[in-house]
């Protein structure tokens, strides 16, 4: 009951928010010619020339290229490429990290099922991204509306330029992050780096579905959600011709695109999914917290790739492996450290004991909150944002107990709330490569709010529709009997442990 009311009000707010957004979007479309100016370094408030950098072969710039051609011909930088290869691998590792983090928190009978939610996303999105996802997200804009990419990079087409088919000689399309300087990485590396983001985002949502969702339905959901929600959002925010990018929305490494969108989608899905049998009375204690803590460790480790790797699209910076990456690395160290402590202390005061799960959850909260801000804020601000992250997300999970919805592993409580909070705080604390409220730029905060509401509303509504359709067709849940027996046995014919 309470949840329904709460959600209704969320939707009202969102819809109300949509009106000015729509208006602004209009306005933006008209302002399109001016928007090209945005890509000149001096004025660019945010991330960089994703598609613009594509024409590696200067002799043949794609006619459809949406943005300004580079000022200098890109040249491969092995240091930057090394760092981006590593970052891509690090983000991939976050997915088993997430599997551990979530898998340790469920009951023993659902551990494999929960692992599979993350692992199968690697399979489905790994394929989807190569086939169509990268093109939809980072392909040239379809119809110049800033909403989605076209199909020109289908199957990663064009990233390898065949020079001589007979001998197999090729050239590589390069991705140049800053058009004034030649430093570049192969676009294939950029595409793979982004692939990992797409995978983990949908896997995050699974936290809300754990212990009751039907596996086959989940698989279909992963495909639909990534294609219909993630790919457009990535285009909006990170592509030079995306409408939110043009507006100047700041999202360093995915606060809006990744965390907010997955968190809010989790909530939308929950409306149709409902609570676990026995919630909240039955004891549903985590079955293996060492796994969860190891997951926290791997997530933190991988998050350095997630955040510091995102320097690749930093403004005014030709180096993926340079000062901006260093800053993102530093904030990604400080904020989770502070958030772990603040959550732990809040819990210590509020319920009497500092729990290990609490510290770990705080670390994740800190990582989530600093994500959109990682390369825009200074260490001191990261410390403050970290402290707040722990407190805000601790509050977020208490909400669940209050409202009695069953977000099993707090996908909304941590990622939804943390992602939103981080995106907004980025508009407050930004001082590096952009300026926020505290640096006197009130407009940035407004832009952040618009981005949050727009992305949130879009994700929420499309997820609602997907969930509704899946509910009516395949069904979202397993039978009650199967739920009691556990998903490992009933969905996968396995047991996690035979000890």
């Amino acid at each position: 009951m309470k949840l329904k009311l709460y959600l209704a009000s969320i939707m009202l707010v969102i819809l109300a928010g949509l009106i000015p957004i729509a208006a602004m979007a209009e306005e933006t479309k008209e302002a399109a010619p001016a928007a090209t100016a945005v890509t000149t370094p001096a004025a660019t408030p945010a991330a960089p020339a994703a598609g613009a950098a594509k024409p590696a072969d200067a002799a043949a710039p794609a006619a459809a290229a949406p943005a300004t051609p580079p000022d200098v011909k890109p040249v491969l930088n092995t240091g930057d490429t090394a760092w981006m290869l590593v970052s891509s691998a690090l983000v991939l590792l976050m997915i088993p990290g997430l599997a551990l983090f979530y898998g340790g928190m469920v009951r023993q009978k659902n551990v494999l099922s929960t692992f599979m939610h993350s692992f199968v996303a690697m399979g489905i999105v790994g394929v989807q991204w190569a086939v169509i996802g990268y093109s939809l997200s980072f392909g040239p804009d379809m119809g110049h509306m800033g909403l989605i990419g076209d199909f020109s990079k289908f199957m990663l087409n064009g990233l390898i330029i065949m020079k001589d088919a007979a001998s197999g000689t090729v050239e590589w399309a390069l991705f140049q992050n800053y058009t004034k300087e030649p430093g570049a990485i192969p676009e294939l590396v950029f595409a793979m780096y982004q692939a990992m983001f797409a995978i983990i985002t949908v896997a995050l949502i699974s936290g809300a579905m754990a212990e009751r969702v039907k596996f086959s339905t989940y698989c279909v959901f992963v495909l639909l959600w990534t294609t219909l929600v993630y790919d457009p959002l990535a285009h909006w925010v990170w592509m030079t011709d995306g409408w939110l990018f043009k507006k100047g929305a700041l999202d360093f490494a995915g606060g809006t695109v990744v965390h907010l969108s997955s968190g809010i989608s989790a909530l939308a899905f929950l409306i149709f999914l409902g609570k676990r049998h026995g919630f909240p009375n039955e004891r549903m204690a985590p079955h293996n917290l060492p796994l969860t803590l190891l997951g926290v460790g791997l997530l933190w480790f991988g998050w350095f790739g997630f955040n510091a790797g995102s320097a690749i699209v930093g403004v005014n910076t030709s180096d993926a492996a340079g000062g901006l990456a260093g800053l993102a690395f530093a904030t990604t160290t400080i904020a989770p450290a502070a958030a772990g402590l603040s959550w732990m202390i809040a819990e210590w005061i509020h319920s009497g004991k500092p729990s290990a799960l609490g510290f770990g959850s705080g670390v994740v909260a800190g990582l989530v909150v600093i994500t959109p801000a990682a390369g825009f804020v200074q260490p001191g601000a990261a410390l403050l944002m970290g402290i707040m992250a722990g407190l805000v997300c601790y509050g977020g999970i208490l909400l669940k107990a209050k409202l009695k919805y069953d977000d099993s592993l707090d996908a909304f409580g941590v990622h939804g709330i943390g992602g939103t909070f981080g995106a907004i705080m980025t508009g407050v604390f930004a001082t590096v490569g952009a300026t926020g409220l505290l640096a006197g730029n009130f407009k940035q905060l407004m832009i952040q709010l618009i981005a949050v509401v727009a992305a949130g509303a879009y994700a929420f509504i499309v997820t609602l529709i997907i969930a509704f359709i899946l509910d009516k067709t395949m069904g979202l849940r397993v039978d009650k009997e199967d739920e009691i027996m556990g998903l490992d046995q009933t969905q996968h014919s396995e047991s996690g442990y035979n000890m």
């Binding site: 819990e347 319920s351 729990s355 609490g358």
Partner: protein
């Protein structure tokens, strides 16, 4: 013969076992059980969810003995398992009709 079943606190296992060995009892079968009784459990907290763990881990010992040893065994367990605090446990005595050693086929008190 009797089958003596004792529910004790886990950290007392070694002590009780040694005490029983000392009076010549060599065979014991032990299992891990959960006890509900007057001793109250504790509370665990996971991300705001509070669960009362109302069972207490206990050890169950089963010892088959001849009738003449019963009193001594009971006394030995009582002395070695006692802490004086709530939850020390119980001893149950059941009549045992027959005992057989699988290896040799011996039965009765020879088997235990």
């Amino acid at each position: 013969m009797k089958l003596i079943e004792a529910i004790i606190k886990p950290f007392k296992l070694d002590e009780v076992k040694d005490a029983l060995n000392a009076i010549g009892i060599e065979g014991i079968t032990v299992s891990e059980v959960k006890g509900f009784g007057r001793q109250k459990g504790h509370t665990e907290l996971y991300r705001g969810a509070e669960y009362v763990v109302d069972f207490i881990p206990k050890i169950k010992m089963e010892i088959a003995v001849s009738d003449d040893l019963v009193a001594k065994v009971v006394e030995t367990i009582q002395n070695s398992a006692k802490t004086g605090r709530i939850g020390d446990g119980k001893i149950f005595i059941i009549s045992l009709e027959e005992a057989i050693r699988i290896r040799t086929g011996e039965n009765g008190t020879d088997a235990i």
